[in-house]
């Protein structure tokens, strides 16, 4: 578990080898590609991608025709029970790598000889927390922009480690439900919390890549963010459980703790360890072929300090999404509520005044209509309206209360 650069070099080589191995094992795997092109209109404040505090992917300076993403996914079989998944994506923005990985893992999934089945994942992948990100590449089939909760998951969380799952397959044995439990140990997630604590919540579909690097949202906490760094050589963990009832209802719960050592990181390397933990609960209800209702709640805390554990934040968000599918059309609506506040501070006197510097309080409405054309094409129109109060905006010279709106028309091709 060396520094990221070593790990990055190693993983890049591994990823390249996997991609080069694709032709050799393509007969037992599948390669798929997605291209998403957008026309964007936005009055949002400057986006995080430029080091500012905007909540949306596109701000008023990034309107017009945009690359939503180009992604390449591969799933292959090393044996009948051992599978490899590699997800790569390009967002066409100024991240350090024009094409980068979002997931790369091995998945061991033996055949169930009884009602019980074990599974093991090793590599870099998403924890099973979102009930809306169901498409390959962890995309949402409902809206272009994810909920505030899962936007954050896409920005700052990735399991880089191992996850063991035990499934009870009741349906095949005459029962009405199934359940799963998972436990994971991971490294390289010590910086999780940086974006949430400094910018607050966001709503977009721009996932952070495994070797990406971005400017940190402006302020007193440093100027850059290396995602998926391991500063303290101490593993974090999460445990989760899910229950599925007759294909009608799915419930998920997860407790996460990156167990970051606050002493790791420094101004010199401009990286900080954030001790971040949270709980998440979610439900997805599918009463018929048309209607899907998803709700999720997340609440947690994060701490950072090089010298003393005196800087603490509390954050929570929840959303409710309803989606109606009618043949080739799908209509979705989502309401998000979110807040984040600093609860203790050792730098809030002096140059930053006497009050808490960081906070976020707001809500958002997202409406989307989409139509598919044949098996491969999809056209989606999405409107997003987010209202929030963020004290940090004072430091950028803009009003703390802002209403940001964004309209996107996306043409997507999947093959």
């Amino acid at each position: 578990m060396g520094r990221l650069l070593n790990a990055a070099t190693l993983a890049r080589a591994l990823g390249l080898a996997l991609l080069l191995a694709v032709p050799a094992i393509a007969c037992s795997g599948e390669l798929d590609v997605s291209l998403d092109l957008r026309a964007v209109s936005s009055d949002a404040t400057d986006t995080r991608l430029g080091g500012a505090l905007g909540k949306l992917r596109y701000d008023a300076n990034h309107e017009g025709l945009r690359l939503g993403y180009l992604r390449l996914g591969y799933r292959g079989d090393l044996s009948s029970t051992l599978h490899v998944t590699v997800e790569t994506v390009s967002y066409g923005d100024h991240d350090v790598n024009p094409l980068d990985f979002t997931e790369m893992y091995l998945d061991w999934r033996p055949l169930p000889a009884s009602a019980w089945r074990s599974r093991l994942k090793v590599g870099a992948f998403y924890p099973e927390i979102s009930l809306e990100n169901r498409m390959r590449g962890w995309r949402s089939p409902y809206t272009l922009s994810y909920s505030a909760i899962n936007t954050w998951v896409g920005e700052e969380l990735r399991t880089i480690g191992a996850e063991y799952s035990l499934d009870w397959l009741g349906l095949a044995h005459g029962h009405g439900f199934e359940f799963s439990t998972s436990a994971a140990a991971f490294g390289w997630n010590d910086t999780a919390g940086t974006v949430l604590a400094s910018r607050g919540w966001g709503l977009h579909d721009r996932q952070s890549t495994l070797f990406g690097r971005f400017a940190n949202p402006g302020g007193p906490l440093g100027s850059r963010t290396v995602f998926y760094d391991d500063l303290d050589k101490r593993a974090g963990y999460y445990v989760s459980a899910s229950l599925r009832y007759r294909g009608l209802l799915e419930l998920r719960g997860l407790h996460y703790d990156n167990r970051a050592n606050l002493a790791a990181g420094s101004d010199t390397i401009q990286d900080y360890a954030w001790d971040t933990y949270f709980d998440s609960l979610g439900a997805r209800w599918t009463p018929n072929d048309q209607l899907t209702v998803i709700g999720q709640w997340l609440h947690g805390r994060t701490y950072v300090d090089v010298t003393a554990p005196s800087n603490a934040w509390s954050y929570q968000s929840r959303f409710l999404l309803a989606s109606w599918q009618q043949q080739r059309w799908r209509y979705s609506a989502r309401v998000d509520q979110f807040d984040m506040q600093q609860t203790s501070c050792d730098f809030c006197s002096g140059p930053y005044g006497t009050g808490f510097v960081f906070g976020d309080d707001g809500h958002a409405w997202t409406l989307a209509a989409q139509r598919s054309f044949g098996a491969h094409w999809n056209l989606t129109l999405e409107g997003l309206d987010v209202t929030s109060t963020v004290p940090m905006r004072n430091f950028l010279g803009i009003a703390t209360a802002q209403r940001e709106r964004q309209l996107q028309l996306a043409l997507r091709y999947d093959r």
Binding site: L169, L171, A172, D289
Partner: protein, 216 residues
């Protein structure tokens, strides 16, 4: 109307010239007709007659479901498992009557599987846990599934004593009410009426999913 009459007469002639008939009716605990129940009539004595033209059957996979959900085949029948979805499936069974596995595949990657032992084979997909399918393998050539009215007519049965069994994918009981002994005579239609004692289990749905998705 004329056609219906002619067909009925022809069917009657067929029964009259080629053995006996068996009329099966299945009702639930509340009296409602049970559709889709498997009915198998096995002669108590003598070997069952092979049914010609049933040597290859198809169990498709479409929209993350086995189609049909329940397939009945005679012993020795080969079953093809084409995958009509865009995602890959890994079909398997651990049932005593047939243990097998078809490694992850799309399209028609595997040769048909021969089912050579009588019994119930429960099918699963290791990637999509709520995909469930069933293959009933029987030595008997006399079988079928009940219609919307809970009825099934079996024809051309060799005269003699039969064990008639019923089964349903959502059955919530396993008692003697699922088996009857019936005598079949030439030129006569015997009856077997079943009444379940407990309600069927609620079905499992496949709502809100799309065959292109890969759930996280």
């Amino acid at each position: 109307m004329a056609c219906v009459t002619v067909c009925t007469v022809l069917a009657g002639l067929r029964v009259a010239t080629a053995g006996g008939g068996l009329s099966v009716t299945i009702n639930g605990a509340t009296g409602a007709a049970i559709e889709g129940a498997v009915v198998i009539a096995e002669p108590l004595q003598g070997a069952a007659h092979p049914r010609p033209g049933q040597k290859l059957a198809i169990m498709d996979q479409h929209n993350l479901r086995f189609v049909p959900e329940v397939l009945i085949v005679q012993t020795g029948t080969a079953v093809d498992f084409p995958n009509s979805d865009q995602v890959r499936h890994q079909v398997y069974s651990f049932s005593a009557a047939k243990k097998f596995e078809l490694a992850l595949y799309a399209g028609r990657a595997h040769a048909p599987v021969v089912f050579d032992t009588a019994g119930l084979v429960t099918l699963g997909c290791n990637i999509h846990d709520n995909m469930l399918g069933y293959i009933w393998v029987t030595d008997s050539p006399w079988y079928g599934r009940s219609d919307a009215g809970g009825h099934l007519q079996l024809r051309d049965l060799t005269p003699g004593e039969y064990t008639v069994r019923i089964w349903h994918a959502l059955l919530n009981e396993s008692g003697p009410e699922l088996v009857q002994r019936v005598a079949v005579s030439d030129n006569q239609i015997s009856a077997a009426n079943f009444r379940l004692q407990r309600a069927l289990r609620a079905p499992t749905h496949n709502h809100g999913t799309d065959k292109q998705w890969a759930d996280y």
